[in-house]
Symmetry: C2
Subunit: 343 residues, 2 copies
């Protein structure tokens, strides 16, 4: 089968690999229908994060179950499923608390950009999509439940966004845009998106952003605060980047008592503890347990209430996946979709 | 009048000072009834925190209004009041949100250990105690609403303690013990107090602690985790010390998704951001807006539901206040009360 392979900084190839096989009774093998490239894939793509050359890539996807191990009870070949990026047993104390990315026996999905992928812990991880004839746009939205939509939602949940609030999103990548959708879903009244790219600003507005702040640093922070009552700051902040500048901005625009919900994988973030304490701004986040959110978000997608698939602004097939990475690296695509097969 | 004065590390004197006068229309002057020494006073007492020699001290108290400025509407001479350590206008966006220690025009109460004290922003800061003949024990509990009881309660509120939970308190000072009271008040089922002092353990149990862990560091952390389901950690942590060891322990005993509510004034705390993110443990806190909690806690005190005044294990008068500092410094007293006058 064909699989995308990391060969070094800015080098993604498509190579022939053995089709995955069941190794443990709880495994499944999935025929991939749609995969995609994640903003977090850019960390290794750019050579910032180390990754072994020759390794398979991709941690998002929807697909059809091809084969299951003897121990898999809830799925059978032919089921159309969402594969969350965090794979979990679904039974440990953390999974039962909705913290599947902290599963005591969990692992990460890592073979998504290929024709077939290997999914351990199938029962606790996969989520069956109801049978139906889905449009291409619906498939895109379903695909986002694997990661970005659930991650944006986690940012909003961790920031404890409540109805009527004024909130801000730092980061206009696919996750940040999905955080806008999430804040609206949770009832925020005023949603400020910090974004300096016109295409992302437009999509942000479509998703529910009421205000756009294009400036960064102190200038941008002052503009956000100026939108709030007496300039005290916003009621909740969703930090969807993962670098120090974004996190400092998140703290500087949050009102006392607010929480910064953070979901961007952190890279060299240094928030002095004194700042957290004396600003009286909390911080809460981590790798999103997207599996926990699939049921409610799937309903919102299927009812047409949300349309997160709009974040895919570039599409190609597996053979041309290198182009998808390149487009995302150059910020020419918000998020790139890979058509692998049809359901 | 007599006032306690800081003269240098481990030197508290009682000196004659002018009785405070009204300087702004929103000021009040209070005849102090009871004052006390705070665990946070020990930072300057021990010479760790700088403070000008010759400065007045004391940021907690209950007393009788002696005089008010022309602009004070809610209080008049003779009113028996609680003075919170954070003074606030009560009208700004932060005060209205219950964040009085972030008042846009606020200041700190700093003349509490004296016969008369100066209270700016009287209307927004003071809270009138209903008329009545209070016992000595009740006066002690009312005094704690000025700081420690409200601060312990803030730790529990920031940690989002919920009914039925298993929670832990790091720190067995007066604030930590008040956090135990607070966790019980908020419905926690199992309350683990980390304490290695027998007197504090006993009081902790009286206040509602169901388990005591005397060990510190990794050994103590393992013992706390062993008390939780599958060892994942407690549902909420109240960090009531303010040093690095306590904060690291707080993170190490919290389950994924938990929040560390922190109220100890931070001194050299270094929690790497990566730890916050990948442990998926949040942190939230800061100087407690005790004024916000006075109404509900006053009810709990007056109905006898809580008895936080039990934290005072040493009493003296203003003339002997140096002994009160010394007893607290040597941990011979949990908290020291200063009788100044009678209501």
């Amino acid at each position: 089968m064909k699989a995308a392979i990391y060969r070094g900084a800015k080098q993604i190839t498509v190579e022939e690999r053995d089709k995955p096989v069941i190794q443990a009774p709880t495994d499944a093998v999935i025929r991939v229908v749609r995969a995609c490239v994640c903003g977090s894939d850019l960390w290794f793509y750019r050579g910032i994060e180390e990754r072994p050359a020759g390794s398979q890539v991709g941690h998002e996807g929807i697909g059809v179950v091809e084969e299951v191990g003897d121990g898999v009870k809830n799925f059978r070949p032919g089921d159309f499923v969402i594969v969350p990026f965090g794979l979990s047993d679904g039974t440990c104390a953390n999974c039962r608390a909705g913290r599947q990315t902290n599963c005591l026996h969990g692992t990460w999905y890592g073979t998504g950009q290929s024709e077939y992928s290997y999914v351990p812990l199938a029962d606790g991880s996969l989520y069956k999509i109801p049978e139906g004839n889905y449009t291409d746009d619906q498939l895109k939205s379903l695909l986002t439940l694997s990661d970005v939509m659930g991650t944006g939602y986690h940012a909003a949940k961790m920031a404890q966004v409540k109805p009527g609030q004024t909130v801000a999103v730092v980061g206009d990548g696919a996750v940040g845009l999905c955080a806008v959708i999430s804040a609206k879903l949770l009832g925020a009244k005023r949603i400020v998106l910090m974004s300096r790219h016109e295409d992302r600003q437009a999509l942000g507005r479509e998703f529910g952003a009421t205000d756009i702040v294009a400036e960064r640093g102190p200038e941008g922070e002052a503009k956000v605060r100026a939108l709030t009552e007496e300039g005290v700051g916003v009621d909740a902040v969703m930090e969807c980047v993962g670098n120090d500048a974004a996190m400092q901005t998140a703290f500087n625009i949050a009102r006392p008592g607010a929480i910064v919900g953070t979901v961007g994988v952190p890279h060299d973030i240094h928030v002095p503890f004194d700042k957290i304490f004396f600003a009286t701004v909390g911080v809460h986040g981590g790798p999103a347990p997207t599996r926990a959110y699939v049921p409610e978000l799937l309903d919102a997608v299927l009812s047409g209430k949300i349309n997160p698939g709009r974040v895919f602004t570039f599409e190609t097939d597996l053979d041309h996946i290198a182009e998808a990475y390149d487009k995302m690296d150059k910020r020419e695509a918000i998020k790139a979709l890979i058509r692998v097969s049809e359901p």
